[in-house]
């Protein structure tokens, strides 16, 4: 009997040794966007080090991509069963969920450390499919000195009336200053920022959701009122002539450095470029940055509405042999300490619970300003390019994002094209 027990114990020890040896050899692969964003890379590296310290012998090997090549690579790799263990994903990519490529993470992440609204962006059929890391709001950044020189002042709530906003655009254009610096040359969304903020405020959260879901027409009178207002701004010279080809990074530089512009509507991840050092394309240290609310048309259903969205997230490949371990890796990020670290390093909101008051240093005031700007807002969760699909999305990219703000089509034609594409599904 004793010998049997000894043999069983020996077998158990051998098995455990084998398991730990196997674990010691485990390497998790991580494919991520943000190849050119040092602050985010540093944050992910910090998470990797934290996880590796808690899991001796397990290593995480990150590969950094730009977004579009990453998405193309993932499509092929996942279908071929060669996908990485963990990868960057965004809530719009529901095709991953529809085809069973994502591991539900409810049972693996400490959900009490994740904001409910952020988790909801990834909730499908009651399950959460990603770690919602990057959150952002759509803001209108502006040059406070330039605004003052043009003879304008913001009211306490930071929101000009639609009429005053138009006067501001006209005044800036009259002075040879680009009123709204924006470029849609390499991204499918920034050109539509202001149009959609005005639209959201005009028709309110529910109707806006209906519009993006294809259940409300773009030719609806309220929608048209918002588009007509935008067309009047465009005709007043709101956007630069190089709008259709200016790239996102160029628009940042244009706004705060050369030649300089009055406003830049942008996701609050503006900081990931602007707060780099000036020699790396960041804004000058003494740049007079302010945040204003988008204008609300008279009779708007929700003047305090604003767009918020979950951006960069991380998913676990359901087919990975290391899926459980990969989920543990993501759990290392679901921690308020990591949330605070994200705020400090990246200076953008996050879906992980965090405390903005912990941000110190030169950009602490910026965070206070951002908090104040968002304090009284109601948020619509999701951006058009994250919600629209297929031909409707393609038409949005070409028309609402580029051709309409570039003045190549008018409000009526834009609405007609959107209705045609979105009603066709």
């Amino acid at each position: 009997m004793n010998s049997a027990i000894r043999a069983a114990a020996l077998a158990a020890v051998t098995a455990l040794t084998a398991v730990s040896a196997a674990k010691a050899d485990t390497e998790l692969s991580l494919w991520s966007h943000w190849a050119d964003q040092d602050s985010k890379i540093e944050f992910i590296q910090a998470g990797i080090e934290k996880f590796q310290a808690a899991h001796p012998g397990v290593t995480v090997k990150p590969t950094w991509y730009q977004k579009n090549p990453l998405f193309a690579a993932l499509k092929g790799a996942l279908q071929a069963g060669q996908g990485p263990d963990v990868f960057y994903c965004e809530p719009a990519q529901t095709e991953y969920i529809d085809n069973g490529f994502l591991l539900p993470l409810d049972d693996h992440l400490d959900m009490s450390n994740i904001e409910e609204w952020a988790a909801n962006s990834w909730r499908h059929d009651g399950k959460v499919y990603a770690l919602p890391l990057e959150a952002y709001t759509v803001e209108i950044y502006f040059n406070t000195e330039m605004l003052e020189k043009l003879g304008f002042a913001l009211p306490d709530d930071g929101q000009l009336s639609a009429a005053d906003f138009k006067k501001l655009v006209e005044a800036a254009a009259g002075e040879g200053i680009t009123p709204i610096v924006q470029g849609a040359g390499d991204r499918p969304f920034p050109g539509a920022y202001l149009t959609h903020e005005v639209l959201l405020k005009k028709i309110g959260i529910d109707a806006y959701g209906e519009l993006l879901a294809g259940r409300k027409k773009w030719s609806d009178p309220d929608v048209m009122e918002a588009l007509d207002y935008m067309e009047s701004l465009i005709k007043a010279g709101a956007y630069p002539r190089s709008f259709a080809t200016m790239k996102l990074g160029e628009s940042h530089y244009y706004f705060y450095s050369n030649p300089g512009g009055l406003m830049l509507p942008m996701g609050s991840w503006y900081t990931s470029r602007a707060f780099n050092s000036p020699d790396q394309g960041g804004q000058p240290e003494d740049f007079p940055l302010g945040i204003m609310q988008a204008p609300a048309l008279d009779g708007s259903a929700c003047p305090e509405c604003k767009t918020a969205n979950i951006g960069g997230s991380f998913c676990v490949n359901a087919e990975s042999p290391n899926a459980e371990l990969a989920a543990e890796f993501l759990d290392a990020f679901a921690d308020p300490e990591m949330g605070n670290l994200w705020l400090k390093k990246v200076l953008v909101q996050t879906g992980i619970k965090s405390d903005a008051s912990t941000v110190s240093g030169p950009h602490a005031d910026y965070f206070k300003m951002l908090e104040a700007a968002d304090k009284n807002n109601k948020f619509f969760q999701g951006t058009p390019h994250a919600i629209l699909k297929g031909q409707c999305l393609e038409t949005f990219k070409q028309v609402i994002n580029v051709a309409f703000p570039a003045g190549q089509v008018g409000a009526g034609q834009a609405a007609q094209m959107m209705d045609q594409a979105c009603s066709a599904g």
Binding site: E95, T245, A406
Partner: protein, 316 residues
């Protein structure tokens, strides 16, 4: 009367070794040398092509059985997809004009070099250099040239007082396609120049000397003698250029991604968008476009070959 010892494909036993021909190497040697190349061809060319044909009549579900839909994708593509027809139109415009530009400019440059124009050695290198530059670099370079604010093109127009002519060349539907076509021609004219120059250099001197004796000037020699004599080369260049234009993707993707307002959308960029940017794993529909376009290119090439066939063989 048949030789009973000859098997299928002409393989016959020679002594104790199977050979294709009596003087050739043994069949085993032939097989050993051919198999690797054949395998590469089967895996990387034949299979993808056949798989694309298969995909085009299916809806693909990555983790479930493929769904046969017959000609559904083809019907949808031709009857209910306006973007597809815009892409076809743009590609046809490109394939119709750009080969003439490419080959025409290449021929003119080659004749200049053949005629020993001043600094010919320098220009030969300078004109060929764009061929050696990657599409990414060419695309970025010309995006700078076309930049509205500080591009050299608008800068030059401003410098000569033509401010009103300045525009966002790649950002406006009226000019974007032409702007990208010019860039492509700039890149490839040098290749056509080199091939034409090689063909010109191979022409028999006696014919040209005879023309000179008849007081034929340079234009006459070029038009009546050189061009007809290098016609097969020109036709081949046109066909190669046409095929390239029908498949054009990289430069468009780098410079405009098909915009603005689909003004530079080509069939290839549209296939890519449908395959990789449509938030679906189903490659059925883009495969149908690819198959359809494969046959269009095939027919275009055959038609061109037929139209430019040489009825009388030149003798010199």
């Amino acid at each position: 009367m048949t030789d009973a010892s000859v098997g299928r494909w002409g393989i016959r036993p020679v002594g104790r070794v199977l050979k294709i021909s009596p003087d050739g190497p043994p069949l085993s040697t032939v097989t050993m040398f051919l198999t690797p190349a054949l395998l590469v061809y089967l895996v990387f060319t034949a299979y993808p092509v056949l798989r694309t044909f298969y995909n085009s009549v299916h809806i693909l579900h990555p983790r479930a059985a493929d769904e046969y839909v017959g000609m559904q994708h083809y019907v949808q593509m031709t009857t209910a997809d306006p973007t597809f027809w815009v892409a076809v139109k743009n590609t046809m415009i490109w394939a119709g004009f750009a080969p003439l530009l490419d080959v025409g400019i290449g021929l003119i440059l080659a004749i200049c070099l053949y005629a020993k124009a001043p600094f010919a050695r320098f220009f030969r290198i300078a004109w060929f250099t764009p061929v050696l530059i990657s599409y990414v670099v060419v695309g970025i370079l010309w995006m700078w040239i076309y930049n509205f604010d500080w591009g050299i093109l608008n800068g030059a127009l401003r410098a000569v007082g033509l401010e009103n002519w300045t525009r966002a060349w790649l950002g406006e539907p009226d000019t974007a396609l032409v702007a990208v076509m010019i860039t492509h021609t700039w890149k490839w004219a040098g290749f056509n120049m080199v091939v034409c120059l090689a063909a010109l250099s191979a022409l028999p001197k006696e014919v040209l000397e005879a023309a000179e004796l008849d007081n034929c000037n340079w234009f006459g020699k070029a038009w009546f003698i050189m061009i007809p004599m290098i016609r097969p080369t020109l036709v081949n260049l046109l066909i190669l250029s046409l095929i390239g234009k029908m498949k054009i993707f990289d430069l468009v993707w780098i410079m405009t991604q098909g915009g603005p307002l689909w003004a530079t959308e080509t069939v290839s960029t549209y296939v890519y968008k449908r395959a990789f940017q449509w938030q679906t794993f189903d490659l059925g529909y883009p495969s149908a476009i690819a198959v359809f376009w494969f046959f269009v290119v095939l027919i275009a090439v055959m038609a061109l070959k037929y139209a430019f066939r040489q009825r009388d063989k030149l003798e010199y």
